[in-house]
């Protein structure tokens, strides 16, 4: 929790989702997950810490961990 970082890449093959990779990639981008965007982990669910709520740029997005696996984040301190 409170983890901050910057999106380094989208690696859809890492997600354990039923969606085809390119489709997942497009949906993530549509919700603002693009390379370079700042992210912060805000909340997580009770069971297995799933789903999670993530601050990305200026919006808060809820998603499951298995889809979030596709978002590679470098934990450099935000500028």
């Amino acid at each position: 929790m409170g983890f901050r970082g910057r999106i380094r890449a989208l690696a859809v093959e890492r997600a354990g989702t039923g969606l085809p990779g390119p489709e997942l990639e497009r949906r993530l981008i549509e919700l603002g997950f693009v390379e370079g965007a700042e992210v912060e982990l805000l909340h997580q669910g009770l069971f297995g810490g799933d789903p999670i709520a993530v601050r990305v740029a200026h919006a808060t997005i809820a998603l499951r961990r298995r889809e979030a696996m596709a978002i590679l984040v470098s934990d450099e301190a935000p500028v």
Binding site: T17, G18, L19, P20, P22, L24, E25, R26, R27, I29, E30, L31, G32, V34, E35, A37, L42, H43, Q44, G45, L46, F47, G48, D50, P51, A53, R55, A57, H58, A59, T60, I61, A62, L63, R64, R66, E67
Partner: protein
């Protein structure tokens, strides 16, 4: 292009305040219908601009991209691209954006520009953005974006003046629709679009604080893994108390009104058959549905407030994991919960679920939730057969059985959705749970009133059409043929319903049902609780005070415990409600899913009742 009334389409991200803007622009001059063939709501309204132009305005479902992923978003895409034709082809697209959350909206605006129709960007909720220290250079944004940019505050008087002026300007010089260069963007194009949007944001917007302080503070508690769930349960508890307690006086008044109306008709100098049709068919039938209107209004009041507040997305977040285990989407939570009051509003509220399969699963299992119409039947049988004593010293046995029936319904619903997900739709793509958690906003009374009015009229329209015709059919079954001269048995024993009751006797024999039960089940199709009254008719009990207790005494003497328990098991699962089936047909837009629901529930009910009766008999209670 229709020169008479140009059409303006409102397009925007979910939660951008688009509907509030639509309400502010049109007021009561709007109507809600369905797009042909689908169940997506079509909201069209009229507005008069300051320059005296009459315009038509369409509120399209919220979306992040024209690359549609749900039936709602397909409507938005097709309307924007002019594929729907008719009165929804827009002459002007107004892209509505939440001024305090512009990033994703700007990318959508860039995509809309490619459609080839005039586009305008309306920065909505400017008041909130200003309060949060967000400064937007609208002129710069308009220059960079290449479309007019105006600001609006939907909820304040005069807040739409600037938007209306700009719409007037745009409509005055409407060009014929250009060539659309839009095609479904791939990941690279989307990425490029978002980069461009981020550049515009850097150039034209200066942000104050990071997050909305109120939202951050509220979420620290409301999304807390433990406290959040406790609070959600508390909210639900209050909601159900309200649905049952607050609705009671209004429901009693409506029931009394219909009884009075029935008595009035009963004493009128009319032929008996016509009298029976008006009293038992029309008035009793419509009355038994309309009596649920107060519950539906209260339930939707809570749902709309929670939705406008921004809490609904949080409820879905908190429940996603728990529901997900049974193959249900987090958003299915509220519709299923609503179904404890009545499956009809529950099924109507599945519109919040984007994915078609997830929505269908929810609709199919919603009628298994123990609705309030089952309660009179449960109460009758439990009162007659289950001894009123405590078990383990402190738990009432009758209450325990009641709880067991609720639990059986829930278990049934979870089981069915699990089977659907794992067996029937296992080859299909599992829809990911991804949604934006919007900042909290104070609900506006006007939007709330319009929303409630819309729900109430939809329900009443249905009660007046589909449901009414079902009621009339059931009355015909229970009334024809007429009893012969000098008949000694109650009239229903000579009817088609009785013939059907006897004809299906061999089928229901293994369940321990006698022909009287079979007959009562037929009018019980109109509404579950009607079966209680029908049993009274069959056992020739006069209505009035204490009728239910007398029925209880008689069935306690005539039925075995096994029969009673089997009937309870039957009632947990059986599709004993024509109105619910009618709503399923409406909401899924197909007869197929209505029949699927009917037959799977029938099968479950038969198996459950069969098992219950046979086990009870084996144990000596047959």
């Amino acid at each position: 292009m229709s020169a008479a009334a140009p059409t303006i389409a409102l397009v925007g991200n979910p939660n951008c305040g688009k509907t509030a803007l639509f309400n502010a622009l049109t007021g009561s001059r709007q109507k809600v219908a369905n797009y042909p063939g689908v169940t997506v709501e079509k909201k069209v309204g009229h507005l008069m601009t300051p320059a005296g132009r009459s315009l038509q305005i369409v509120d399209l479902p919220g979306t992040y991209s024209l690359r549609a992923r749900s039936p709602d978003e397909e409507i938005t895409r097709d309307a924007v691209l002019g594929r729907l034709g008719g009165d929804v082809t827009p002459d002007l697209i107004v892209c509505v954006a939440d001024a305090s959350n512009l990033r994703l909206a700007l990318r959508l605006a860039l995509e809309l520009k490619r459609v080839g129709r005039p586009v305008m960007l309306s920065l909505n909720m400017m008041d909130i953005a200003r309060k949060r220290g967000i400064e937007i250079d609208a002129a710069r944004l308009a220059r960079e974006l290449g479309v007019p940019v105006v600001s609006s505050v939907a909820v304040r008087r005069g807040g739409t003046d600037e938007l209306l002026r700009e719409i007037d300007n745009a409509v005055a010089s409407l060009a014929a629709a250009g060539v659309s260069s839009w095609k479904a963007p791939d990941a690279g194009e989307l990425r490029g679009g978002q980069r461009e949007a981020d550049r515009l944001l850097d150039a034209a917007v200066r942000r104050g604080g990071e997050r909305d302080v109120t939202t951050a503070r509220a979420d620290a508690v409301l999304l807390h893994p433990v406290a959040g769930i406790v609070i959600l349960l508390a909210i639900l508890f209050v909601m159900f108390q309200a649905v049952f307690a607050w609705a009671r006086p209004a429901m009693d008044a409506i029931a009394a009104g219909f009884t009075w109306l029935g008595a009035l008709v009963g004493s009128a100098p009319l032929p008996d058959l016509l009298k029976s049709f008006l009293k038992d068919g029309l008035i009793a039938g419509v009355g038994s549905v309309i009596v649920f209107l107060p519950q539906i209004v209260i339930l939707f009041f809570f749902i709309l407030v929670l939705e406008d507040l921004g809490y609904m997305a949080r409820a879905a977040f908190l429940m996603d994991r728990i529901m997900g285990g049974a193959g249900l989407h987090g958003r299915a939570f509220i519709p299923l919960l609503s179904s404890f009051a009545c499956a009809i509003p529950g099924i109507m509220s599945t519109r919040v679920i984007d994915d078609r399969r997830d929505r269908l699963t929810t609709i199919l299992v919603a009628p298994l939730m123990t609705c309030s119409a089952r309660i009179p039947v449960y109460t009758l049988i439990i009162g007659a057969f289950i001894p009123d004593r405590d078990v383990w010293g402190f738990v009432g046995l009758q209450g325990l059985v009641m709880f067991g029936l609720y639990a059986a319904g829930i278990a049934g619903a979870l089981g069915v959705s699990f089977v659907l997900k794992r067996l029937i739709w296992r080859h299909s793509v599992g829809e990911p749970f991804m949604l934006e958690l919007p900042d909290y906003k104070i609900p506006q009374a006007k939007s709330l009133a319009i929303g409630l009015w819309t729900r109430a009229t939809i329900f009443l329209k249905r009660a007046g059409t589909t449901i009414l015709s079902m009621m009339v059919l059931i009355w015909v079954l229970a009334s024809f043929p007429q009893p012969p001269e000098g008949a000694t048995e109650p009239a229903i024993s000579y009817s088609l319903a009785a013939m059907i009751g006897s004809a299906i006797q061999p089928i229901t024999e293994p369940l321990g049902f006698n022909w009287q039960i079979n007959v009562a089940l037929i009018p019980g199709m109109a509404a579950r609780e009607v079966a209680v009254g029908a049993l009274g008719t069959i056992y020739a009990i006069d209505g009035g005070e204490g009728a239910a207790e007398k029925i209880g005494q008689i069935v306690a003497g005539q039925w075995s415990l096994g029969t009673a328990l089997a009937l309870l098991a039957w009632y947990v699962f059986a599709p004993q409600c024509a109105s619910t089936l009618a709503v399923i047909r409406r909401e899924t837009g197909s007869w197929k899913w209505m029949w699927v629901t009917f037959f799977y529930m029938l099968a479950l009910a038969y198996v459950a009742a069969l098992a219950t009766y046979q086990i009870a008999r084996a144990l000596g209670a047959g």
